[in-house]
Symmetry: C2
Amino acid sequence: MLFKNITMIDENFQVQENVYVGIEGERITYISNEMPQKEFGRIYEGTGKLLMSGFVNTHGHSPMALMRGYGENLALQDWLNKKIFPFEDKLTGDAVYWGTLLTMAESIRFGIVSTTDMYYFSEDMIRAIEESGTKNNISRSITCFDDSDLWEMQGAKEMKAIYENYHNAAGGRIKVDMSIHGEYTSTPKIVQQMAEYTTSIGANMHVHLSETKSEHEECKARHGMTPAAYFNKLGLFDTPTTAAHCIWLEGEDFDILKEKGVTVASNPVSNMKLASGICNVPKLLEKGINVTLGTDSTASNNSLNFIEEMKCLAIAAKVKSGDPTAVTPQQALKAATLSGAVSQGRMDCGSIKEGSKADLIVLDISGAHMHPVHDLVNNIVYSASGSDVILTMADGKVLYEEGTYTAIDIEKVIFEAEKATKRILSAL
Amino acid sequence: MLFKNITMIDENFQVQENVYVGIEGERITYISNEMPQKEFGRIYEGTGKLLMSGFVNTHGHSPMALMRGYGENLALQDWLNKKIFPFEDKLTGDAVYWGTLLTMAESIRFGIVSTTDMYYFSEDMIRAIEESGTKNNISRSITCFDDSDLWEMQGAKEMKAIYENYHNAAGGRIKVDMSIHGEYTSTPKIVQQMAEYTTSIGANMHVHLSETKSEHEECKARHGMTPAAYFNKLGLFDTPTTAAHCIWLEGEDFDILKEKGVTVASNPVSNMKLASGICNVPKLLEKGINVTLGTDSTASNNSLNFIEEMKCLAIAAKVKSGDPTAVTPQQALKAATLSGAVSQGRMDCGSIKEGSKADLIVLDISGAHMHPVHDLVNNIVYSASGSDVILTMADGKVLYEEGTYTAIDIEKVIFEAEKATKRILSAL
């Protein structure tokens, strides 16, 4: 496939015009202002279109799509205890499969090519992800509320089996990460055992960190240190880690994340919607910490509209800091793409350069809302609509184009996801 | 025209299914679950679609679309002094006309049927608004930095002429409001004269109020009272008033707005992006103050994506208050529609009921991101994408449908707006 005469966001987040981008197999093999000599098969006319890296969503709980808009406008504990936990208690593998496919369909529609996922029923999720054509760093999250040993736990056995059976599956599209759910849902013993195991196999770690003030303060009361210091002391950050939320970081927490190379997955929309707070993204960026963007689940967002998420990352940082120059459009774009790919250990993804995986999206930039063009990057981050994505490609395969999914039977997915949801509701 | 078998948001913000809504001339004349006996002309098949009131944008500066993304990521004073003011200094009537048409095209695309506008070059704006088919409460805003008398000022003469020539023009689509730009850009004498004149003619007032902390605090230092108390003392609120922003209200300000029936136009995206702060919407609602939604200009937003604006109204209020139950989806929807129409003095607009003006939009609710449906209102406010609007109608006339504008030559508008922008840039 050859994108012909298209506008492009390059690996330095600069705009290039009238570019030819050629794809062979799963990789980008040609970038030039000249028409290539060789044949590339399908020619995609790029006039009035923008080609950029696909988005990387670094924090999701994909099956929770089934709980989108369920129990809206409740206080957090009521929402969890009266709605989310009882619903999750009735989940089946089948429901998780359809919920994950629904999330993948929505992801593709909004230009997300890769997701870092934390949940359970991992094999059912993997089936859905594999079929959808997307990429995923999946983890079977561990929680523990007693003095169990890690390897006595059913969840840990599942986690290990999934790693052994699926890590780097689907041509590398699927990677398996490890996950401790959070400080308040685990014990020091389990954290330490997870840290040792994860480091020993060289896997990535995914964890919730300082999402709410109460979680942060209760950890300090329990352990005499912040969640970041606690996890660091137990060795959790000795392996490449993505920490979600990080709203209530304080003092030396920033130095710990920097020193240990921990990635922050900021989830601005979910964090605002749940009234958790606003992450101090400017300080993270200033420290040189890898900042990435996540949606959290559609039960708390309630969409995977990644352009909206990118805009909210920037404007939330501005209002929180009182500084309208905080988080530039380029920084928001980098967080939404390249930094996410890096956090997933996908070093050949996340930007348009020769040799990289062809994880690409096309935006229609012809609309009234995208004009005039003083600076196209500004327009992409602040003016574009999520649905301006008109083509999504992962590993060189077109997954979505102008309303049509190539790998997903969208009507069936919506029908089955609705059906699974109703089945659960009727069992409550 | 008859919307057949469609899902609808009714005047109480409840979902009604399988409804028939008939339009005759500019009004809604039939709402029922039964197919009407009489003929309505065109039949619109409503399956998988949602019919609701069009959006009312209660604070805009439409011609500023030409400055979208211009001088991004600057501190407020640099942005104004180095970018916006020099650009505005070169504006021409022709540029304002094309900029306004561009804004109207974008508004229609995102479901905004009516705007409350504050700017100058009003006749050029009115030409564009009239052609576009939208509704507008337009005002020629007054600023004054010396001891002039109101009626010595050229702007005041323009303002009066526009009121006399255009109030209730275009079949009532155009209304002319009065406007004091703000406390910091006017004198007590001018405010008082404007208050007297506006009250005497029974017009609406539109004003910026406590947008930034410095504006609010400097007023207190200058006049020994808050901007709200200052304007109230000078009689500005003796006429129906829409006050934009209202972020830094304090103490008795809330009582003044309540007592005087002042409407608040909250502009959450612009307020976050400019780092001005977050309006205390929950307190305004609790007081029973009429809360409406505005975008501010696309120079500071930078879009007119009204579904995004509605979502941001709710989530900004939640994170600011620390309360995830603050601002319900119904309250957000009401602010975006009915409350806006009321603030414009359009008592027969803003909701779907028999006898009301047919200012309607259709949303495609068939996408993956709109499923499952636990509660459709939740999905509209939190999950829909701005571009899910597929039909926009004002006064019974379809202005936009599935990519096609009926009254605007969109390609010409974009071309001319770009050309006018380049002409100004080259004159700087």
